[in-house]
């Protein structure tokens, strides 16, 4: 078995989730190679060399891959796929974008967003927004797989793989990059965020929601609110999480000063990990929280921000 993993990166930094995809590949088993496709991406190659469990790092450093356009990258990966049984990528921006193209060009189905490996051809993945878990067997001889990184542990970075420079420069010539707008301070959308921190009536007023901002910045979190906080006029309605607001299911949900009314729980109870911060030990939020702290939120929030 030979496995090719596409390295998710921005020409400077190897995205750490790639290390988790390598771990998913190890669960399948076989000789694992990485592909770094980019432009002026030597720093990424240096990091890729050190990924444990990898025998070779293929490098396609060419202007055609500078922005990792799906049209161009998919042609490269499809060409390289001839030598591999399994093609994998992390289910992040780049992988989600180009991998189905590779699958279609290879005339195979793609198994998206796997969270478990049962065997070399059988995988576990969430469907219906994670409200059901499917076990799927691939009947294709070549597998094209994207990996939900949060489901796997990262491998170590004490490897020493060989680097192989490729000469390919597949340019489809049908698309071009215009610009990127990365706004570091702008928080992710509530529905899409991996981490959400929400405040409730316990925040006491709208100004106190500033206490959530520092923590949100550190965690890349979106900020939400309970209906009680919205109704009290602390924050606008588009921040509302709950039955009549947004339904969220992030990896981490931090409920601050929220009692846990059933209408609020309906909007967040499918979150992977729930943390509750509330001074009332009897608050129903603690019944669904994985971790709770019974304390005054005005003591906990500044300390939490410091220690993250």
């Amino acid at each position: 078995m030979s496995i090719l993993i596409y390295v998710e990166h921005d020409n400077n930094e190897l995205k750490a989730d790639t290390l988790k995809t390598v771990s998913a590949a190890q669960a399948i088993g076989g000789d694992i190679n990485l592909l770094v496709a980019g432009h002026n991406c030597a720093a990424v190659v240096e990091q890729a060399k050190n990924v444990s469990g990898v025998s070779k790092v293929l490098v396609a450093d060419n202007a055609a891959y500078a922005n990792q356009l799906a049209e161009n990258v998919s042609l490269l990966v499809t060409e390289l796929a001839a030598d591999y049984n399994v093609i994998m990528a992390t289910a992040l921006t780049t992988g989600k974008n180009f991998m189905p193209r590779v699958a279609a060009l290879l005339d195979v189905a793609q198994i998206s967003d796997i969270i478990g490996v049962e065997s070399a051809d059988t995988f576990v993945r969430p469907i219906y927004a994670g409200n059901a878990i499917a076990t799927v067997q691939s009947l294709d001889s070549k597998k094209v797989i994207t990996v939900r990184a949060t489901a796997f542990d990262a491998v170590a970075t004490d490897g020493n793989a060989d680097v192989v420079n490729l000469s390919q420069a597949t340019d489809a010539g049908t698309s071009s990059h215009v610009n990127d707008e990365f706004t570091e301070s702008e928080r992710p959308d509530l529905g899409a965020a991996n981490v959400v921190i929400s405040g409730g009536r316990g925040m006491q007023n709208g100004d106190n929601f500033k206490l959530l901002e520092g923590i949100a910045d550190k965690l890349g979190a979106a900020i939400g609110a309970s209906r009680a906080a919205v109704d009290a006029g602390f924050v606008p309605n588009d921040m509302q999480v709950g039955q009549t607001g947004k339904i969220v299911a992030p990896d981490l949900y931090i409920a601050v000063g929220i009692s846990g009314a059933i209408q609020h729980l309906a909007g967040m109870k499918d979150s992977k990990i729930i943390v509750a911060i509330n001074k009332d030990a009897e608050a129903p939020i603690f019944q669904v929280a994985d971790y709770g702290i019974v304390a005054d939120l005005f003591d906990v929030l500044p300390e939490l921000e410091n220690k993250l």
């Binding site: 922005n67 356009l69 799906a70 049209e71 998919s74 992040l92 921006t93 989600k96 991998m99 189905p100 193209r101 699958a103 279609a104 005339d107 195979v108 189905a109 793609q110 998206s112 967003d113 059988t122 993945r125 469907i127 927004a129 994670g130 409200n131 059901a132 878990i133 499917a134 076990t135 799927v136 067997q137 009947l139 949060t150 489809a172 049908t174 698309s175 071009s176 990059h177 215009v178 610009n179 990127d180 707008e181 702008e186 959308d189 981490v195 990896d251 981490l252 109870k269 992977k272 943390v275 509750a276 603690f286 669904v288 929280a289 994985d290 971790y291 709770g292 702290i293 220690k307 993250l308």
Partner: protein
Amino acid sequence: MKVLVPIKRVIDYNVKVRVKADNSDVDLANVKMAINPFCEIAVEEAVRLKEAGAATEIIAISIGDKSCQEQLRTALALGADRAIQINTDEKLDSLHVAKLLQKVVEEEQPQLVILGKQSIDSDNNQTGQMLAALTGLPQGTFASEVKIDGDKVNVTREVDGGLQTVALNLPAIVTTDLRLNEPRYASLPNIMKAKRKPLDVKEASEFGLDLTPRTTLLKVTPPAERQAGIVVETVDELVEKLKNEAKVIA
């Protein structure tokens, strides 16, 4: 400019899905069905392009049994001009859906195909990209803005950490993200009018494609039950648990 909008009939997003007792699949008996939310955004975007004078004709298409005609009528009521149902009782892989759509693209020659980025049932996020690959067309996935500019379309995409804008030669494939627009409600007169708009039915088996399944669904189970939580005493303990036990923060 002709715009093709493939849409999918799925469980209504407000319905809590249940797994069948025999773990063979989810139970969709007597469940409210609707147009996939991302597909609805695709229809809306096509209608806005037509209202702006950029598009001249909107064709909605759906693949499935007769029941998906209900969602095609919804698309017609929202502003599509005509509809095509590709009839099949089979549960197709995204690859097969893309292959059927490829045939329709070859026949209809649209300048733009707008699809939802993923369906809320299978959550695959594949069909648009696969169709783009099969037709050799460029793609703008996860779109939050679509601007026609002569023989190109500029697509602003939702990417990790921000936005990316790409310029695609037309014809092109676009897949929608949530922020692209807010779909309108169909008015009663438009719902009535939609009943008289043309809806062609074609058989999937008549496209000359091998639609043999490439995957087998072995089982479907409910997600793990939430474990009883613990109360931690200090913030340090909380941070340690989140890092090393829950692994949700770095």
